[in-house]
Symmetry: C2
C-alpha cells in the first residue's frame, strides 16, 4: 500500500477514513476487517453491469480470500436504477442470501451505485454498515458526506437518508478505463472544491491540468485527496445540510437548470456545473468581486477540458423556469452561491432574477479559451 493517501472525515462517532491509492482493491480485505466489517455475516456488493465486467471479480475474490462471505448484486447502468423498485429487488437478494443486521452493503461504482446501495444500507433492517468503493472521479464528491437516495418519478434524489460509510476505498487503477469525457466532467467537482475553499489548490489545478486529464496517477491521487478533504471539512461542520453545506452547490443552480432543459445526455452533470460556475463567477464580478474571480474560474475549467459557454440553442426562458422550479424561489430574488474571491464563497439570498437572466444570456456569448 505504498504511496497511498488517507484522510479522515470527522463526524464524532460516525468518523470514517478515506483511502486513496493505486491498486487498493487488492487491500480491500484487510481494510474492511480493520474497520470492523463482519466476516460472520454475509456482505453484499452492489455494482452496475459495466463496472461488474471490469472490477467485480477482483473485489469479490480479494474479499473471499480474506474470509468474507460475498453476495453480489448487479443493477443496470444508469440513473434509472435509482428507483424504489431496484431497492426492493436488492433487499430481496439480501434476504434470500441471509444478510442480517451485522452485514455490510458495499457500493462498487459511480454515483448512481453509491446512492442506491447507500440507501439500501440505510434502510435494510433500519440501517446496516456501508462501504464505498468509487470507480469514477465524480464519485469522489458523492462518496463523502453520507447523502444517499433514490429518485421518485416526480423528482430526483427525493427519497433518501444521511448514512455515513464505514470507509471509502478509492483505487486509482479503476479510473484508468474511464472515457475521456467522463474524466473531464468528473474534474468539475474537483475544481469546485478548490473554488469554494482553497485558492492554492485552484492554482495547483491550473498548473497540473494536463497531467490531470491524462490521469497521471500521483497527480490524480492528490487532486482526489484535496477534493475529498474540502468536502469532508464542509460536511464535518454541517452534516445534515442546515447551512454551510449549501456552499457545495456552487454552480449547481444554473447547472441543474441546464441539465433539465438540455435533457440528460447532452450535458453531463460535471459539464453543466462547469458552465454554472462560470456563471456564478460572472455574477460575482457584477456584485463587486475582483475581475480575477471570473478570469481564473474560466481559465482553470477550460484547461481541464470543460465547457464554459452555454449552448446557444437552449432557451433562456426555459432555463429561468427550471431554476425557479428547482428551488421554489420567492418572486424576484434568488438564493445563489457567489464567489467573493478565488477559494471563498458566500450565500447571497437576494440576487435579482433579472440579473441572473442577463448572466445566462451572456454565458451564450462566452468566448471559449483555446
Amino acid at each position: 500500500m505504498s504511496g497511498h493517501r488517507e484522510l479522515t472525515v470527522e463526524l464524532g462517532e460516525r468518523t470514517y477514513p478515506i483511502y486513496i491509492g493505486e491498486g487498493l482493491l487488492d487491500e480491500a480485505g484487510k481494510l474492511f476487517a480493520q474497520r470492523g466489517i463482519s466476516k460472520k455475516s454475509p456482505l453484499m456488493i452492489v455494482t452496475d453491469a459495466n463496472v461488474a465486467r471490469r472490477h467485480l471479480d477482483r473485489l469479490a475474490s480479494v474479499l473471499t480470500e480474506e474470509g468474507f462471505t460475498v453476495v453480489t448484486a448487479i443493477v443496470p447502468a444508469g440513473e434509472n436504477s435509482k428507483s424504489l423498485a431496484e431497492l426492493e429487488r436488492l433487499i430481496g437478494i439480501a434476504l434470500e442470501h441471509g444478510l442480517d443486521r451485522k452485514s455490510a452493503i458495499v457500493a462498487l461504482g459511480g454515483g448512481v451505485v453509491g446512492d442506491l446501495a447507500g440507501f439500501v444500507a440505510a434502510s435494510f433492517m433500519r440501517g446496516v454498515k456501508f462501504v464505498q468503493v468509487p470507480t469514477t472521479i465524480l464519485a469522489h464528491d458523492s462518496s463523502v458526506g453520507g447523502k444517499v437516495a433514490v429518485n421518485h418519478p416526480l423528482a430526483k434524489n427525493i427519497i433518501g437518508a444521511f448514512h455515513q460509510p464505514e470507509l471509502v476505498l478509492y483505487d486509482l487503477k479503476t479510473l484508468q478505463t474511464l472515457p475521456e469525457r467522463e474524466v473531464k466532467a468528473g474534474l468539475s467537482e474537483v475544481v469546485k472544491h478548490g473554488l469554494i475553499w482553497d485558492a492554492d489548490f485552484v492554482q495547483w489545478c491550473d498548473d497540473n491540468a494536463e497531467k490531470l486529464t491524462a490521469l497521471e496517477p500521483d497527480t490524480l491521487g492528490y487532486a482526489l485527496y484535496k477534493g475529498c478533504s474540502v468536502k469532508a471539512a464542509v460536511v464535518s461542520k454541517d452534516e445534515r445540510e442546515n447551512d454551510l453545506r449549501a456552499i457545495l452547490n456552487l454552480g449547481h443552480t444554473i447547472g441543474h437548470a441546464l441539465e433539465a432543459v438540455a435533457g440528460y445526455g447532452e450535458l453531463l452533470h460535471g459539464e453543466a456545473i462547469s458552465i454554472g460556475m462560470v456563471g456564478a463567477a460572472k455574477l460575482a464580478v457584477r456584485l463587486g468581486a475582483p475581475e480575477e474571480v471570473y478570469q481564473v474560474t474560466k481559465r482553470v475549467l477550460s484547461r481541464v477540458g470543460l465547457p464554459v459557454r452555454l449552448p446557444e440553442h437552449l432557451n433562456t426562458d426555459d432555463i429561468m423556469r427550471a431554476m425557479m422550479h428547482d428551488k421554489k424561489f420567492q418572486e424576484g430574488t434568488m438564493v445563489f452561491i457567489v464567489p467573493t474571491a478565488i477559494g471563498a464563497v458566500e450565500i447571497n439570498k437576494s440576487v435579482s432574477s433579472s440579473l441572473i437572466r442577463e448572466i445566462v444570456e451572456q454565458l451564450k456569448q462566452e468566448a471559449v479559451i483555446g
Copy 2:
C-alpha cells in the same frame, strides 16, 4: 386540556413529549406550534380509510384554524399498505402539494399508519419532521421508540429507519370507537410493559382490569401513560436496539411464530403475544423463577380478556420451524426473554429448543381462567 398527562422521551437532542388526554385533538394546533411544526410549509396528514371517516376532518380543521396548511393522504386500512408502492404514492402527493424540507408528516391512526407515515417522514428529502397521533391502544407501543418501516414481500418491517417524532398526541376519545377485541389485544403490550419493568403496575392492571376493558377514560389514560413510560425508559437507554431494547420482545418469539402459523387474522398481534408471554412465564418457572411469575402473568392477561392457551389445531412442528426461521437460531439453543420475577426479565441466550417445544405443547393444554 385539564386532566391530561404528559411524559418526556429522553433522547438527547431528539427528546420529545407525549401528551395523553381526553379531547386532545382539539389542542393539536397549539401543541404542534409549541413543538415548532412550521406554518409556512404545508404538512401532510396520513391516515387510513377507517380512521379518516371518524377523525380526519376534525384534526384537519383544528390545524387549519390554527394557521397550518394541511394536505391529507388516505391509504387503505390494513397491513398491505406498509409497502414501497404506497410510500412512493405518498411522496408523490407530498411533492404535488409542495411539501418541502420544513414540512411535517402526521400519522393519524394505528401501528400500520404510524410505521408507513414514519418512514415517509424519515426518507422524504432525507428526513422531515414527524408527528404521531395514535388512535389505537396498541399504537402506544409503536408510537414510542422511533422504529418506522414498510414491508418487503419476503419479510415484515425490513425496510425502515429510526426516526423520532417531534411529539405524540394521544386523544383518549379516539379510542372509544375501537372494537372490543382490538381493545383487549391492545392491552397486551400495556401489560407487557408492566411485566418487564414494574411489578406495581402489573398489580394495578390486575386490580383495574374491568375498568380498562370498559375504556374508563382516566384508567385508560393512566395505563397508556405507564405503558409509554416504560417503553420510553427502555428506548432512552438503547435507542438503536443494541442490547437492552431486546427485553421489549417478551412474548414475541412464540407470539410471532403463532401469528405466522395461524395466518394473519385468526390471532391478533396482541393475542399472540399474550400466549407468548404465558409461555415465557412457564419457561421462567422451569428455569428456576418463582411459581408466582407464571400465576400472576396468566391471571392478569386473562382478566383483561386475552387468550392464554395456544389453539390446539396449530401444529407444533410448524411453530418451531417459524421460530427458528424468525431469529436464525443456532442449532439446539435459542435466545429468549425470560422473566426472573414479576416486573423483571433477563435475556437468556441458551434456552434449549427441546424445552421450548415442551412449553409449546403445554400451552395447548393450558386451563383458561374463567
